[in-house]
Amino acid sequence: MDELSILCFSLGERWFGLDVHLVEEVVGEQTLTPVPGTPRHVLGLFPLHGRAIPLFDPACFLELPVGDTRGLAQAKRQDSVRVIVVSSGEMTVGILVDEVREIVEVPRDRLGKLRLSAEGKLVEFALAEVDLGQLVVTVLDLPRLLDAARV
C-alpha cells in the first residue's frame, strides 16, 4: 500500500497518529475500576461489549511534558473524554487521549524523520513524522509501545 491511513489524536499540545487498521473503535466516558498494584500508566479496567479492557495512559508512560497543559485541555473538553480502543496481537487496550481529530490518508513518501524534539521515551516508539500543514503528527509504533507497557 502506498498510503497510510492514520487516526490523529492529541496528548496535550502534541499530535500523534495511529495506523487505522490497529484501531477497533473510539469511545467516550467510561466507568473505570482502578486495579491496585498496577503501574501508574494503567489507570484501571472498563467494560466494553462484555469484555474488561485496561485503560492505558500514554502521556504518563511516555513521560510527556503535558502536565499542567493537559489538565487545562481536559478541563476545556471535560465533556468529551476520548478513549481509542486498539488491538495488537491478542491484546485489546484502551488508550486515553485528549482529542481525536480525523482520519488522514498519508502517502508513504511523505513520512519523514523526526525533527521536533523528542524527550523522554518518545524517540523509542516513534515511527515517523508527518507534516499535515496545520499539524505535525508523530506516528507511533503501537505494537512496540504496548509490548513495552504491558504488565
Binding site: 487516526l7 487498521h21 473510539v26 467516550g28 468529551s80 480525523e102 482520519i103
Partner: protein
C-alpha cells in the same frame, strides 16, 4: 394772748396820759386862778393848756401810728413775698409790741416753711425729670419688645407654612417610594421567571450536547470502519465525515447558546442587584419620609405652642406699654407741677444764702 398779771396796755397808757394831762391842766388852772387871780389869764392859761393837750395827743398818736406803720410795712413786705429776716425793735411792752413779735414769729415760720418748700421743690425737679426720662425709656423698651414679639409671631407663621409644605412633600415622596418598592418587586418576580427559563434552556442544552457528543463518536467510528473497509467503504467514510461536521456544528451552536445564556444570567443577576439596591433605597427613602413627617408634625406642634406663647406675651406687653404710657403721662404732670412749684417759690426772697433758682 394770755393776760396774767398786769400788762401795760395802750388803753391804760392812754388813760394814764390823759389823766396826767387833765390833772396838770386842772392844777395849772387852779394855780392860775388862785395865784394870778385873773380870769383872762386863767382863760389864756386854759387855751395854752388846751393847745398843749392837743399837741401832746398828736405826738402820742404819731408815735402809736408810727409803730403800727412799721409793723404794716413788714406785713406788706411779707405779702409781697420778701421773707428776709427782720426784727422790729419795739421796746414798749404793749399790744402793739405783742403784735410785732407775733408778726416776727409769723415771718420766721413762713421763711422756714417756704425754705423747706424751696428745698423740696429743688429736689423734686431733678427727681421728676429722671422719673420722666426713665418712664419714657421704659415706654420705648416696651414698644420695641412688642414689635419684636410681632416679628417673632410673623416668623412663626412663615415657619408653620413651610413645615406644612414639607409635610405634604414628604407624603408625596412616601407614596412614590412605595410605588417604586412595588414595581421593584414586580421586576424581581420577572427576573425570577427569567432565571427559571434560562435554567431550563441550560438543561436542554446539556441534552443536546450529549446527543452531539454521541453523534460525533458515532460518526468517527463509522469513518473508521469505512476506512478499514478500503475502496468499498470510501463513500461510507465520506458520509461519516459529513456527519462529524454536522455534530461539530451542533457543538459549536451549543457553545454559542451557552455563552448567550451566561450573558443573560449575568445581566439578570446585575438587574437583581440593581433592583435590590433600588429596593434598599426605596426603603431608606420611605423611612426618611416617615421621619420627616414626624419631625414636621413635632415642628408644627412646637410652632403652635410658640405662637400661643407669643400671643400671651403680646397681650402682656400691650398692658405694659399702656402702663408705661400712663407712667410717662404721670411723670410729665409731676414735672409740670414741680416747675409750677419752682415758679411759685421763685417769687419768695429768703435772704442772700437761700435764693430759689430762677425757673428755666
Amino acid at each position: 394772748m394770755k393776760q396774767t398779771g398786769w400788762k401795760p396796755s395802750i388803753t391804760a397808757k392812754l388813760v394814764l396820759f390823759n389823766a396826767t394831762l387833765l390833772l396838770c391842766m386842772a392844777f395849772l388852772l387852779f394855780l392860775m386862778i388862785y395865784w394870778l387871780q385873773s380870769p383872762s389869764g386863767a382863760a389864756l392859761a386854759c387855751c395854752l393848756l388846751l393847745l398843749l393837750g392837743l399837741a401832746c395827743s398828736y405826738w402820742f398818736g404819731a408815735i402809736l401810728s408810727g409803730r403800727l406803720r412799721r409793723i404794716n410795712a413788714l406785713t406788706q413786705r411779707i405779702a409781697d413775698g420778701d421773707l428776709k429776716q427782720e426784727k422790729l425793735a419795739l421796746r414798749a411792752a404793749d399790744e402793739i409790741t405783742e403784735m410785732a413779735r407775733a408778726v416776727e414769729k409769723m415771718l420766721d415760720n413762713l421763711r422756714s416753711l417756704v425754705g423747706q418748700i424751696v428745698e423740696t421743690a429743688l429736689s423734686i425737679n431733678p427727681a421728676s425729670s429722671e422719673i420722666f426720662a426713665s418712664a419714657k425709656r421704659q415706654e420705648h423698651n416696651a414698644t420695641e419688645q412688642a414689635s419684636s414679639v410681632d416679628e417673632t409671631t410673623r416668623t412663626m407663621a412663615t415657619l408653620l407654612a413651610s413645615s406644612k409644605q414639607i409635610a405634604e412633600s414628604a407624603q408625596v415622596v412616601l407614596a412614590n417610594a412605595e410605588k417604586t418598592l412595588l414595581s421593584n418587586q414586580l421586576v424581581a418576580e420577572r427576573i425570577e421567571n427569567l432565571n427559571a427559563q434560562s435554567q431550563r434552556i441550560t438543561e436542554i442544552l446539556e441534552v443536546i450536547k450529549d446527543i452531539a457528543n454521541k453523534s460525533d463518536l458515532l460518526a468517527l467510528n463509522a469513518s473508521l470502519e469505512g476506512t478499514k473497509a478500503g475502496e468499498a467503504g470510501r463513500g461510507f467514510s465520506l458520509v461519516a465525515a459529513e456527519m462529524r461536521r454536522v455534530a461539530e456544528d451542533v457543538m459549536g451552536s451549543v457553545k454559542d447558546i451557552k455563552d448567550l445564556v451566561s450573558v443573560i444570567r449575568q445581566s439578570s443577576h446585575a438587574a437583581v442587584l440593581a433592583t435590590e439596591d433600588g429596593t434598599k433605597l426605596s426603603r431608606q427613602t420611605t423611612d426618611s419620609a416617615r421621619q420627616i413627617s414626624l419631625i414636621t408634625q413635632q415642628q408644627q406642634t412646637g410652632t403652635e405652642q410658640i405662637t400661643q406663647s407669643m400671643d400671651d406675651l403680646s397681650e402682656l406687653l400691650a398692658q405694659s406699654v399702656g402702663a408705661s404710657k400712663e407712667a410717662t403721662t404721670a411723670a410729665q404732670e409731676l414735672m409740670q407741677l414741680s416747675e409750677r412749684l419752682r415758679f411759685l417759690v421763685f417769687n419768695f426772697k429768703l435772704g442772700e444764702d437761700r435764693k430759689a433758682e430762677k425757673p428755666a
